[in-house]
Symmetry: C4
């Protein structure tokens, strides 16, 4: 399928940490066919590539994920079951990562934050990534809603949109906890899901062959969904949950989207950040030997003079 333009050992995930996008590289020896910044749109696109990539990647993630929930819920489990939902989100993450190759494929503000804290990802990019991710998730929720509008009308009744009833469809877009959960339990469930996500992302990026990483991401999110997905619906991602929730509010699902749970909506906004930071911390403390604040003196909390001097000297040597 497709003409063989892909080179054989093409890197799946590009290095974008340095903030210089290859498409606007100033290296005069590059004669790559990909460099054609002389036309208006390619020039614009290369400036906005990170945002576009995260937008489209998160769009694909939520499109497939929410689409799979919609199909299972609206067909009353005849065209899929919980496992389809795990497949949907897993494939969403896999293809989102293939889509957002140029921006590193974070697709999740909490992952971006952990990359900033533990892997020296540019803090300056954090707000751009987060906005693009939320907007991508919102666009995807709109498309899923448009596609399944007739089915929702048939399921809930024409024009009726509710939250929390047996015939409600708000759960297609954003997550709602099981009724027996305590507030602490909800937070912990999202926290542990996010920790596993981040821990395994670091483990996989470190240890898997690079071109198997997107496939492994499929398995990572599948695992979170199959093992810790029931209680709160494994949002583990502010963009994936808050974006579609906003959309359902705008589409007339009422205040229930905010006060169900009760007021559960803030948990999947906050817990993933703490969870991903903890998962990344755990990985770096026990297993990571590369560049990380954990592998600096006093685990990066302070940086004594001697260390500064060492680092400066090292830099000099490598420049010479």
């Amino acid at each position: 399928m497709g003409t063989g333009v892909a080179e054989e050992t093409q890197p799946v995930i590009q290095e974008t940490t340095n903030g210089v996008h290859p498409a606007i590289s100033s290296d005069p020896t590059v004669t790559d066919t990909d460099v054609r910044p002389q036309y208006l749109w390619p020039k614009t696109r290369s400036l906005l590539q990170d945002a576009f990539s995260e937008f489209m990647g998160t769009f694909i993630l939520v499109l497939l994920g929410d689409g799979s929930i919609a199909q299972v819920v609206l067909s009353k489990n005849t065209k899929g079951d919980w496992q389809s939902i795990c497949w949907g989100w897993g494939l969403g993450l896999m293809f989102g990562a293939y889509t957002a190759t140029k921006s590193g494929g974070h697709l999740n503000p909490a992952v971006t934050l952990s990359m900033c804290v533990f892997r020296g990802f540019s803090w300056r990019k954090f707000p751009i990534y987060m906005c693009a991710q939320i907007l991508g998730a919102m666009a995807a929720a709109l498309v899923v809603y448009g596609n399944y509008k007739s089915a929702i009308d048939q399921y809930e009744g024409y024009g009726i949109r509710t939250v929390g009833l047996n015939t409600s469809t708000a759960g297609i877009f954003a997550t709602y906890p099981q009724p027996f959960m305590t507030r602490t339990g909800m937070f912990f469930s999202e926290f542990i899901g996010s920790s596993i996500l981040m821990f395994l992302i670091f483990a996989v990026v470190d240890n898997a062959a690079q071109y198997l990483v997107p496939l492994c991401l499929f398995f990572v999110l599948f695992a979170v969904g199959a093992c810790f997905g029931w209680e709160t619906g494994f949002a583990v991602n502010l963009a994936r949950d808050f974006g579609p929730r906003l959309v359902t509010y705008a589409l007339g699902y009422g205040n229930g989207v905010w006060n169900a749970g009760p007021y559960y909506f803030w948990v999947p906004m906050v817990a993933p950040f703490f969870g991903c930071l903890f998962g990344g911390f755990l990985y770096d403390v026990f297993l990571y030997t590369g560049e990380s604040p954990i592998n600096k003196p006093f685990m990066g909390v302070t940086r004594p003079k001697e260390a500064w001097r060492n680092a400066a000297q090292k830099e000099k040597v490598s420049k010479a």
Copy 2:
């Protein structure tokens, strides 16, 4: 399984854009064992290779896809469920791509069209590909019918063939929409499925390691089926739907195959073309940096003189 004739880094998908098939290459230095055009059949085959490959590839696609639906429907969900159908179509696409390696593995007229528009695939080949794909799908539907004839007789009653009833088996071969769907909804559902298909094919061909592409195609069609497959049965392919529909008409399923829906049959013939074009457009606009009309001045709509001159100059340089 098999003797190790496959070379290790053998390309999964050959370059066929230039229209010169390697097997009839005139390069005198090629001493490949694959070049033996002196015998009658190999010579004939190499001339017809594109058509044969697309025929056999689409044959495998529809054989496994329709076969999986047949098994699920006729065994009354005891030997499979919706997920088997996703597996069946996904594996059909994967093995169809392996089978049709020599022609690029399009297996879908809408994919071929998008390749012509966005990747410079030879327009001259479009009608050949489309005919081969439709014929391949028809042959596969016949084989599936032959294989499951006893089971259909037992399911519908001996010699009875119907469309749209609870005991109908026409849905094994071609797709029929859910009863609650509006015409717009049907079109949109096929449109979005095809867009996802084409967008992800481009994303995967661009970013995945080449030998993982067929495996990724499995996941692509699985995703479309698990997330957007319920409402209209994810035909997303003129050949896959129209070919088997013709076969069911010829086999005596009656006029229902055309007027069910009502007159749904044209939707999976038309929508995939628009959907695939839109999906390819979206990918090229936001993410693609290679050769594409989108990456030309004014997004390829016009081509001002200066651009022509640049291109000509570039060509000269590369020839020199």
Copy 3:
């Protein structure tokens, strides 16, 4: 898992066509640690390696395959469903291929026959392979029976072993057709399953990266099971069906193992050979460009003088 003895680009499937096993290679420059034929057992083993490999490979195939059926049947579908059975046989073939790497991983007399006919595999080895495969399947059926003996006693009643009733367990080991099938339908179903098997094996070995071949074999058998497995239980293999059937006869399941169907038992013994030959023929006729009888003058049926001369000349040139 395991110490890193595997080399990175280790071939998954060794070349065994020439009949000289690498372990007894006489090449004096080989200083491989694998060559230690001076001790008794390694020497014996290297002489019998083909038989041992096919035995163990078919053992694994049938162990996992029959094991998965046993678990589904005896747990009354609570610990698996039809899809588990597809997984079981698919994984059996995949791990059987990994196990029988040294002999080429045929695991099926019909595959061995097709390799002899279409790929120049040594005819001399055919009876050895076939015996080893049948014995391996018999050993596996015995182990599955031993493991699930208590469960069979609880399911059928202590010491009761029957064929063809609702509470029968003979179907765990050998295949039995659906009651509505005609004799022609049974034969055709096995024939088409075997054709798909062989066609896809050739397609995969030809076009997939070599180390992905066992994974693809998983998908191949999964596809046969999910799409054409219901009517006759996709034996597609004399060894897999006849071996365990003999075992069930010996274990006291009675004459029913032979006369059920009625006298169905010979279909999965004969049809796979025809099916695999046809599948291989189809692939070679339409797609294969390597060494095959199909790619000789008059499709290998006769070999006129001119062709002999050409071949001889070619050989001379390549020797010089």
Copy 4:
């Protein structure tokens, strides 16, 4: 997802047999960024790396495995079925292997024992590995319990914890046999599961491309669960079963955790060792041609003088 720090052909599983950890290598030419033993924590960690790796790897294995059982049991099969459990344990082993790359990813005392016996793994490390594995499994069981506490309370009744009833939840953590099993049957079921595990691990490590090994491990444990997992719950691992069983005892599940079965608890402690040894033995006897006691004179039982002399001479030559 993630910044491209992973090198392209990075080895998935490092060689750790020699007991010298790369991070504390004394080779002065190594200028790897991974070598920074001057700080306190990295230095400590590199000394304890094996223990940390096995701890975290087994933690991930049991976290995902027990988590998947918890979700299936507590949601009363609405958010998963037996297949989710196979996925959970398979993914647990796969990601456990990615996590514990630095220690070889055994995650199972019986696997460590087999590596010592058949692959020259350091006996000195056996107790360290076993302790780390058991502690990791215990930690994981605690986290699963914490996460699903509300759900267990809702399922069993607040504060009630039982073993062996229809509403019991002890089976989430440790395994309990089916009621109809004999003691011999239990032992044999665990024995055969462990044999398959070890046999396939050796087959995969030997024959699969190195970076596909963790993916194959997913399939290995999935196969054991789908084909031989029903009767005793496929513990096949002292750490996975005994660790969580201790935790459930500490959490108040009562003496039932020990005397259910009756006194089944010792079977998954003992049988895996025998099973893994037998599986490894089988592989080495019939298929392995590398360094193994089986490939020594008299299958390693004795080592006559001549063999010693040969070995010594060989060593000299390779040193010269």
